[in-house]
Symmetry: C2
Subunit: 329 residues, 2 copies
């Protein structure tokens, strides 16, 4: 991890520092922690490589850390990005639905924005080890004269097993519930439900995985309070997932189990390419880094025509749960 | 192929028969011919299985013929569908861009429609053998009282190699050009260009493959004349592709060549899920058969982070051509 740019030094506790700088420092620090935590489980020589990139004509850039084709991890990516510039009118129109304060502030109808986030996806090789994803982000818009217009946080973490071990889902949900409960016990129930709704693959009539938490447009508490909540949520990630990896990554598996994992990964790709708002926003935004956006896609995936798991099988059990989300804790 | 529903008996030459019935008879007949032509090359015991399906509450249905996991063909699908009912206002709004005659004819703002088409995708196992796709369709709308409102044909065929053999692209284009030239020599140049434009993956700045022909909203000649053109185009399909399969399906290949094919298939999936209008229309349409729409997706695909072919390699040559389409004939 020596190539990784160092945190800027702004600490989350220094409240004189603007939120946007504190969020940036936070995601840089967490990126390193998470990469280290995941890398510790990889048994091959593979480590996370870091690619820093800059947006073409616009402001900002990011760092993508990828570990690919390892023995334990088929593909793991932990990205951060800090971008700013003018939001095109098309993007404003979309965002206005949820953000009434948003308005075009420049003559050409654009809005100045700042966005900063951490995004990770981990696809282990073993079909018994679940895929996971987390994303935490801060968004801010302002007027030509520099006065703020709107700001909000979004984020969440979710688990996508091919073979469902209830205890893995329980651990993942419990750790994230505990993180949120420290601040406000109304958050987990709402964000759990939001997660099930957001990751619903309409054309398949099933969710992408067994959920977790998801929230967007979070501006109903003071910004530094929300930043602390997000700090705690990100800290819950490794403890919610790593113990599961320890249990699963050395399990024996059959060719058929690997095949089923490929089918589930196909569904993962369907969600990300057809439905995920972040991916669609990225693909539409000029100058965005496609390889960082699409690092979420698995190294291998497949589509079997009209494949249905056998009744009563473990594969059928998973699909059942994806069709009627469970309260895990 | 014994399970395949028989053609209705309406022949394309009987001009008293409405175009919609003649198109239906045509696609049923061609489906059988194409399945037979492809199946003849498969060396395993696998044959095309036929699934007939009906639309839930709405009119029509279709037959999907799939050969999957063979020795030569990883996945081959030849579908027909004949569907009719009411177009939702949302779909009308989209279609109005190209069809000014379209207007809501019922009180709830919907339009009666009939759509009939043949759609095929063939993914051979060998990375030297190109994937191909063809689709020919007829669309008609009418008023509550049964009077016609608008009609048009659309279609095309295109080739997607992982390793480019110029002669394969030349054959594919030449056969389709010859088919169109019989009726109107202005068609091929326009449809070749349209194909390159339609199958452009904007976020990758490359086309999906080496093109072929593509057209939509074709109503500028008498309907029975267009039907004859389409008949001839579909007949050009097997001669444009099967000779290439004979040359390629027994070629030796390396693990690396197979890997590159997976990357190219990933791009194929990106186009189909993010950009293909037919797929998006299908996924949005209530009651459509998802498995038939998504049969186009390969049995295996992959995403390698930030993969770039070596300069001067065969892989790089392909990408070069995908970035600047070639005039093949």
């Amino acid at each position: 991890m020596s190539q990784l740019p160092q945190p800027t030094g702004a600490a989350i506790t220094e409240s004189a520092v603007p939120i946007r700088e504190r969020m940036e420092a936070l995601v840089r620090r967490k990126q390193k922690q998470i990469c280290d935590g995941i890398e510790a489980l990889e048994t091959s020589e593979k480590t996370f490589g870091a690619d820093s990139w800059q947006r073409g004509n616009d402001g900002g850039g990011g760092t993508s850390c990828i570990l690919q084709n390892g023995d334990v991890f088929e593909k793991a990516g932990v990205n951060i990005s800090v971008v700013y510039g003018a939001l095109p009118p098309q993007a404003i129109a979309r965002m206005k639905v949820d953000h009434k304060n948003l308005k075009a502030s420049t003559e050409d109808g654009s809005v100045k924005f700042f966005a900063c986030g951490l995004s990770l996806v981990i696809h282990p090789h073993n079909p018994h080890a679940p895929t996971t994803h987390a994303n935490y982000r801060y968004f801010e818009t302002w007027n030509e004269d520099g006065t703020p217009q709107a700001w909000w946080f979004g984020g969440g973490a979710d688990l996508t097993p091919s073979y469902l071990y209830d205890e893995d889902a329980v651990l993942f949900h419990t750790k994230h519930k505990e993180a949120l409960d420290k601040y406000d016990t109304t958050l987990y129930p709402r964000y759990k439900k939001w997660c099930d709704e957001y990751f619903y693959i309409k054309h398949r009539e099933e969710t992408r995985g067994v959920g977790g938490i998801f929230f967007d447009d979070f501006d109903s508490k003071p910004a530094d309070e929300i930043l602390t909540i997000i700090d705690t949520c990100i800290d819950a990630f490794l403890p919610s997932y790593v113990p599961t990896l320890h249990k699963r990554i050395n399990m024996l598996f059959t060719e058929q189990e690997k095949q089923w994992q490929q089918v589930r990964r196909g569904r993962y790709v369907e969600f990300n390419l057809v439905l995920d708002r972040g991916t669609q926003f990225g693909l539409m935004t000029p100058g965005s880094r496609i390889e960082s956006i699409l690092m979420s896609l698995p190294m291998t995936a497949g589509w079997l025509y009209d494949h249905h798991p056998e009744e009563g099988s473990r594969e059928a059990r998973l699909v059942e749960v994806l069709k009627s989300p469970v309260e895990w804790c």
